[in-house]
Amino acid sequence: MTPAAPVDELLLHTLERFTGRVIDRQQATFAADAPFAEKWRAAVGFIEQDLATGYPKAWPGVEAAVLDTPGMRDRINAVIDRWRSLLRDALAAAIDEFGLERSGCTPERLAPLVMRFDKGLLLERLLGLDRGHAELLSAIDNWLTSWETT
């Protein structure tokens, strides 16, 4: 497999370092001794901060570069995998807390759904789009609230 060129290597390293910082923050959020709904709200509350830091722009930018450079894919896939594992663990706690074990919602199934909608919403925001975002986030929040009160 073709090794990454020096500029590509720098881009990947920058993305990995950026990811490390954001994942550290998310890990601390989801590890807190608090109900899942609170952690979810804290995570959603980071949207504006993340948009301001540029992380949601850096990620698809490097992803697009990787689409044409197969030698870089393992590294970007490791970034995706780190996020997936973080979300899987956080969602496992939610499933336990809400007693959803028998619903068919496993953390491994929910993690790609949550990760992709979150990443997609951020990308759309960068492109100036927000159709349906508020409705979706509000519906999820209401759903979590309904489980908390069950």
Binding site: K57, P60, G61, E63, A64, A65, V66, L67, D68, R73, I76, N77, I80, D81, R84, G104, C105, T106, E108, R109, L110, A111, P112, L113, M115, R116, F117, K119, G120, L121, L123, E124, L126, L127, G128, L129, R131, G132, H133, E135, L136, S138, A139, N142, W143, S146
Partner: protein, 186 residues
Amino acid sequence: VTAFLDAAERLLVREGAGGISTRQLAAEAGQNHGLVHYYFGSVDELLLQALERFTGRVLERQRAMYGADAPFIEKWRTAMGFIEEDLASGYPKVWAELEALALDRPDMRERLSAVNESWRSLLRDALQQAIEEYGLEDSGFSAEALAALVMQFNKGLLTERLLGFDRGHAELLAAIDRWLTSREAR
């Protein structure tokens, strides 16, 4: 014009948007490079028109599929069955390439937004049918909210597949299919 749009599509799929030049487009189309600016004004305009044309083809297929007189679950399964076809056609790559380009070119965003809006409206209408068919009006999730969710996860899964990553995809799609089946049985 068609030769240039075809060439742009092929180059976007094969090499990405980053380094596409007027001369490269002309060589791929077998035309004089001056014609790119004559017909399109700029390379960006040609790339945008290539995405819009491609989107039109895929949307037409989806509209016909969702417009059929059939239960929603059948339409959903047909839509999921298109994943491999879409990956092979290069559409997800062309869209991802243009979106990445537009992040640094604000003047392209309005056109990307229009592509996005076309998809969102199609999905909203399709999901409205599902909401009515399964009696989900009181679920708290409107067709507009679900369209945002479904579109992002579907687009995201395709991007991940392009990267060679598919962790959790089969499990998620199977879980959605089972959930739809359970709604059908009620």
